[in-house]
Amino acid sequence: MQDVLLDVQNLVVHFRVYGGYLKVLDGVTLQVRRQERVGLVGETGCGKTTTMKTIMGILPKPPGVVRGGRILFKGRDVLSMRPQELEHLRRSGISMIFQDPTAALNPVFTVGEQLEDAIRYALGRRDHASVREVALSALQSVALPDPPRILESYPVQLSGGMRQRVCIALALAYPKELLIADEPGTSLDVTIQDQILRLIHRLAEERKMAVILISHSLGVIREWTERVYVMYAGTIVEEAKTGELFARPLHPYTGALMRCVPKLTGTGIAEGIPGRIPDYFDPPAGCRFHPRCPHCMDICRQRKPQLFPVDENHRVACFLFGRNSRG
């Protein structure tokens, strides 16, 4: 495809731990087109952040080990890039808003020092006045009130919502083609989270950026993305246009997850999904969801289902829908 910006194929990532390996990512495949807003949704520990860190070239190694797969950004292979090329990728290609805004900001420097440092580094500017101009306008663009005062502040002096916006300003201080937003604002209140997501949406449109929005909240994903990947235990189990996924979830996990979400209709809450998420030390063979699946068949215990197109806008990794798919 001509307009594919990011192409991840069969990514396998393990973590070396005492006594063996945690086999976390088990062949993750996803694509992002230019200017597209893609969602990645899944429960705690399913591997969302690990996937993104690997794409950014910031997976800690050790303990992380990339065992297989390919990541192409604008056709260039990220996994074989040298450190300088990766540096360049992060400076001008992809940026990430990290899940924990406190970890992304250094408590001993003011916001201004950190922001100006990043700008100087990216743009190679030496003249202080113009760096400060860029920093001020970066803060303005994320709708922070009184930017000069914010520049002088230390992170602790700001509220959670303001810190989150500083992180966005930092991630977007200079032009990028892809923004990865890892649970932006989920630790914040819904009204503030709403402001942050609206802001990301607006900046992405203005700058013609593609966005990968990561969340464990199906509601957030439904509201702010065009296409969704559903992740379960290190595998992509379903992919569809957002409206299509919510209207017609196919994978048994996606359906079960949607039933667990409390609804405003007040019709009660489903019983939950039986069993536990798998132990990555010794994950189930075949489909990783099979021990919890009410439709489990023999083949599900033996072979891993691949993403299978049920129609143009909808793919699912489940033998219920494509018995002949190979694993």
């Binding site: 429960e43 705690t44 009130p145 509220s159 959670g160 919502g161 303001m162 914040l188 209140d189 819904v190 009204t191 503030i192 989270q193 709403d194 402001q195 609206r198 464990h216 909240s217 199906l218 509601g219 957030v220 439904r222 509201e223 919510f246 079960a256 997850l257 949607m258 039933r259 667990c260 979400v261 409390p262 609804k263 405003l264 209709t265 007040g266 019709t267 009660g268 809450i269 489903a270 019983e271 939950g272 999904i273 536990r276």
Partner: protein, 318 residues
């Protein structure tokens, strides 16, 4: 009177180096047996402070707390043992509320011993019963907290709270740290236990969709005040306070059907002010699109606009 718990004009201030934190101001509500009373509100609105004050973990700066008509506005240590047994709490963080060096059996036996509820021979049996109530297998008694998943730890915390056969359970965001698939199981268990035992729940959460499914009545807090209180259906279908409307309109939902139940979108602006430096007048006025002159000057009182539906807003003034 059939009220289990009555809270009247509750106030709690904290003196800090930054100044006085007005965490809770003029909070009044009541809970009946078998009822789930929901407290919602954004971070820092004072929900936990209300809970801890009810539990006697904080001494109120003003107001009264009555349990079955008896004044219990004293610190926890001075409350009679028989009363402590009646009120139990489950906290948000399932990890840190369980002692990591004690087995699940020891954790569940402790309240039974403290309150001398069963004699030594029956302890074992009772622990099994408690595990059974929260649907954990009996062999979990020999495990340690670290061997349990987050949801299972929270189930143990609930079993521990039930050990003394309380009549009121305070649940402070019991599922906020957990995935929805695990939350579903815990909520269903809590609903079943309530029906079986006719327990009163003070249920705190910031998840309004969850609240819709469990609460009989709901109160919404903002900066230490209750802004609106109503039966759950009325609260969600006919919210009156502009803050309630804004919050409801911002909830991310997963279907068109739910989308239609939300008030028309009110774009949220501004920051939640600090409780050390509260705005004059109505505390919500800096973010309120309906605010006019009187809102900046005068704090509105709580008014009952229809039976059981109270709102603190000048729009509904006399």
């Amino acid at each position: 009177m059939d009220e289990l718990l009555v809270v009247e004009g509750l106030r709690k201030f904290f003196a800090t180096s930054r100044g006085i934190v007005r965490a809770v101001q003029d909070v009044s509500f009541a809970i009946r047996p078998g009822e789930t009373f929901g407290l919602v509100g954004e971070s820092g609105s004072g929900k936990s402070t209300v809970a801890y004050t009810v539990m006697g973990m904080y001494r109120p700066s003003g107001g009264r707390i009555l349990f079955r008509g008896q004044d219990i506005t004293m610190p926890h240590a001075r409350r009679p043992l028989a009363l402590k047994k009646e009120l139990q709490i489950v906290f948000q963080d399932p990890g840190s509320s369980l002692n990591p060096r004690r087995s699940i059996r020891e954790i569940l036996e402790l309240p039974l011993r403290v309150h001398r509820l069963v004699d030594g021979r029956r302890l074992r049996e009772r622990v099994e019963e408690l595990l059974n109530i929260v649907e954990l297998p009996p062999d979990y008694a020999e495990k340690y907290p670290r061997a349990l998943g987050g949801g299972e730890k929270q189930m143990v915390a609930i079993a521990r709270a039930l050990a003394t056969e309380p009549s009121l359970l305070v649940l402070d965001e019991p599922t906020s740290a957990l995935d929805v698939s695990i939350q579903a199981k815990i909520i269903n268990t809590l609903v079943r236990i309530q029906k079986e035992r006719h327990l009163g729940y003070l249920f705190i959460t910031h998840d309004l969709s969850l609240m819709r499914n469990i609460a009989h009545r709901v109160a919404i807090m903002y900066l230490g005040r209750i802004m609106e209180l109503a039966p759950a259906q009325v609260f969600f279908e006919r919210p009156l306070h502009p803050y309630t409307q804004m919050l409801l309109s911002s909830i991310p939902v997963i279907s068109e059907e739910e989308e239609r139940l939300k008030p028309a979108k009110i774009v949220s602006t501004g920051e939640i002010p600090s409780p050390v430096n509260l705005p004059p007048g109505c505390v919500f006025h800096p973010r309120c699109r309906e605010a006019w002159e009187v809102c900046r000057r005068e704090e509105p009182g709580m008014r009952e606009v229809e039976v059981g539906h109270l709102v603190r807003c000048h729009l509904y003034g006399a």
